[in-house]
């Protein structure tokens, strides 16, 4: 029986609180506090006859008791909300940081891709950066030379090989970075959200390359928010929650549990949500869907309104939200930054208000959806909530057609019209005539 290629046992990582936010201290401060601490220690020692107990309340576990095994050829998707420990796990697996407890046994080289184009220098040419980046990612010079043409061809930068990378478009830089990384050949490949960047065709290319790698029976650990990518690529899924493994099963199962957990979180008051991003000067306080009868369930083809309660400094604010289907694939995005004459969005410095976005005839197939929404002031992100609201769309008529069930081929319906132009086929006309005469 084959041994697992990667074996994670009771892994834990503890951070000091503030270590990741307040980042670094100054030498002077630390001398001061060391001095104060030693005075306290001496005092405590004199008064109680022993060293003071060490307080340990300023630490938290980003990861605790995490155990799982990965077999050769597994494509494992790791999902979970922000702060669940995904990045910490990847950093330990790619040996960037050490665990506080537990261990990982690897039976193969680990190549990690936590960022595209790590170590690229804008002043160096494409050719120079391929060598530099490849070497940083752990490729030997001979490997890079052997695969150089492939890398260049995949990145589509043949003409610009001797141009400094700073003159590349961001898309070209991205392609080049991914291309170098894609030609790494480790037994275990660890990938973080690299697919979250780049345009659609680039993402398709990345996904294609990754499934090609997966087909070569190599082992991949893949962290992503793109659930449809996880679903289509991964054979297994692990859901992390609060630093521990909540689900270790198939990718579908892990995603289903994840979405259910998001739903239970969403049901709570938005003001209590702590997993938000942004400056926080303006915040969402409520979200709701309203049908024609002011009820929460929406119907295909009926009017639907999305309402957002907002509070804070509303001046110059813009709102954007995205509807996702139950697999986590984005369906449609709405943004009032793209203005139209029918909008009645008055920018005033009210402290609180409710924004509404109305769709006259909802073109969504029956099913479960959720909304992620963000508030911007200028270009500054003020508030962002993932999976803030779940809603159902029930069967109904759209454009005179009855959409009763969702067959799983897309989530959107569109107004359309069929037609058929018949073309007379002389042979068939002849044969049907003969058949007619025979029957007579």
């Amino acid at each position: 029986m084959a041994k697992p290629i990667l074996c994670v046992e009771q892994l834990g990582k503890r951070y000091r609180i503030g270590e990741r936010q307040a980042r670094y201290s100054t030498f002077r401060e630390s001398l001061n506090s060391a001095g104060a601490a030693s005075i306290r220690a001496v005092r405590g020692f004199l008064s109680r006859g022993g060293p003071p107990p060490r307080k340990d309340d300023s630490t938290f576990w980003a990861l605790r008791n995490v155990s799982f095994e990965v077999k050769r050829g597994d494509v494992l998707g790791i999902i979970g909300r922000n702060g669940a420990g995904k990045s910490t796990l990847l950093k330990i697996l790619s040996r960037i940081t050490k665990p506080t407890e537990g261990l990982v046994r690897c039976r193969g080289r680990v190549g990690s891709l936590l960022e595209v184009g790590t170590g690229f220098h804008p002043e160096l040419t494409g050719r120079e950066n391929i060598y530099l980046n490849g070497s940083i990612l752990g490729m030997a010079k001979s490997d890079i030379e052997r695969r150089f043409d492939e890398i260049v061809a995949f990145a589509e930068v043949e003409k610009f090989l001797d141009t400094p990378v700073k003159r590349y478009s961001s898309g070209m830089q991205l392609r080049l970075g991914f291309s170098v990384a894609a030609h790494l050949e480790p037994e275990i490949l660890v990938i973080d959200e690299v697919l979250a960047v780049g345009d659609a065709s680039f993402q398709r290319k990345c996904l294609g390359k990754m499934s090609e790698v997966a087909r070569q029976h190599r082992t991949i650990l893949f962290v992503s928010h793109n659930h449809s990518a996880v679903k289509s690529l991964c054979t297994r899924g692990i859901l992390l929650d609060g630093g521990t493994v909540a689900v270790d099963s198939t990718a579908d199962e892990a995603i289903a549990v994840y979405l259910r957990s998001l739903e239970s979180k969403a049901a709570s008051d938005l003001r209590n949500r702590t997993d938000r991003r942004g400056e926080g000067n303006v915040r969402f306080i409520s979200m709701a869907t309203l049908n024609e009868a002011e009820g929460p369930t929406l119907y295909v083809g009926q009017s639907a309104e999305f309402r957002f309660g907002i509070e804070g400094d509303l001046y110059g604010c813009s709102l954007t939200f995205t509807i996702y289907d139950n697999l986590g694939a984005a369906v449609v995005n709405f943004s009032n930054a793209v203005q139209a004459p029918q909008d009645e969005w008055l920018v005033q410095d009210h402290a609180r208000g409710e924004a509404g976005c109305k769709v006259e005839s909802l073109p969504l197939m029956p099913g479960r959806y959720f909304i992620s929404a963000a508030l911007y002031q200028g270009d500054l992100l003020q508030d962002h909530l993932t999976a803030a609201l779940f809603f159902d769309v029930s069967a109904g008529f759209f454009d005179n057609r009855n959409y009763a069930t969702n067959h799983g081929y897309g989530s959107v319906c569109m107004p359309h019209r069929w037609n058929f132009d018949s073309v007379a086929d002389p042979e068939r006309v002849e044969s049907s005539r003969q058949l007619g005469s025979f029957l007579e």
Binding site: L103, C106, G119, L124
Partner: protein
Amino acid sequence: MAARSDPIDFVIRPSRGWTDIGLQELAAHWELAYYLTWREVKVRYKQTGLGVAWAVLQPVLTMLIFSLFFGRLAKMPSDGVPYSVFALTGLVPWMFFANGLSQASNSLVVSASLVTKVYFPRLILPVAAVLSGIVDLCLGFLVLLGFMIYRGVWPTWNALWLPVFALLGLVTALGTGLWLSALNVKYRDVRYTIPFLTQFWMFATPIVYPSSLLSEPWRTVYGLNPMVGVIEGFRWALLGTKTAPGPMILASSVAALLILAGGAVFFRRQEDTFADIV
């Protein structure tokens, strides 16, 4: 696909107590060290308008100022060679050391994006930073040779020893750089102290004055500053000054090696936390 029968086995675990320096791993990554050094050099000469001229101008301009103030005005003794030659011979290796030291000290912070995204032995960063200074040293050395001949001072056969003294300077720069780079990750005010440190160190090293000002037992003690050995070594090898190395070089070498060993151990002890706090 046939599974490889002898996969590379390794274990990731919390580090406890003393860890070895990891020289083996460092050796396995020599290509990366080479590429990073090469990047430093290439970028330095590509990016600055003056390019190569910097490596030359820095010691030459300083030499001119020193010659004016210390040579002409203060009448500093210079072991029987023209003061300008005397100063430049000290400045070329000193600049190599001082630049290497500050580059190495900032190497981890400057490459924070690498440290937090990819694994490789972190020692490579300060090593590459110091190594990249060798190109500057060679350029500076050519200028020095030209200037010596222009002033009519011919190098002695002892010049064959120069690589040894350059190596001693490199070891000192790297050793100190290891200490400071690890501290710099943790305490960001370290980087502001580096210019002061190098300035103080320069005056504690016989750049503007000869160490022959000191009498013998003290001169050897003075050699505990490894740069004393480097500078006096350069002067002895090139100019044939009488402050022959001997015990002074020994003291300097021992001190340099101790700094390097201590720095390497300290660096390794701190290494695990770099990615978390850089």
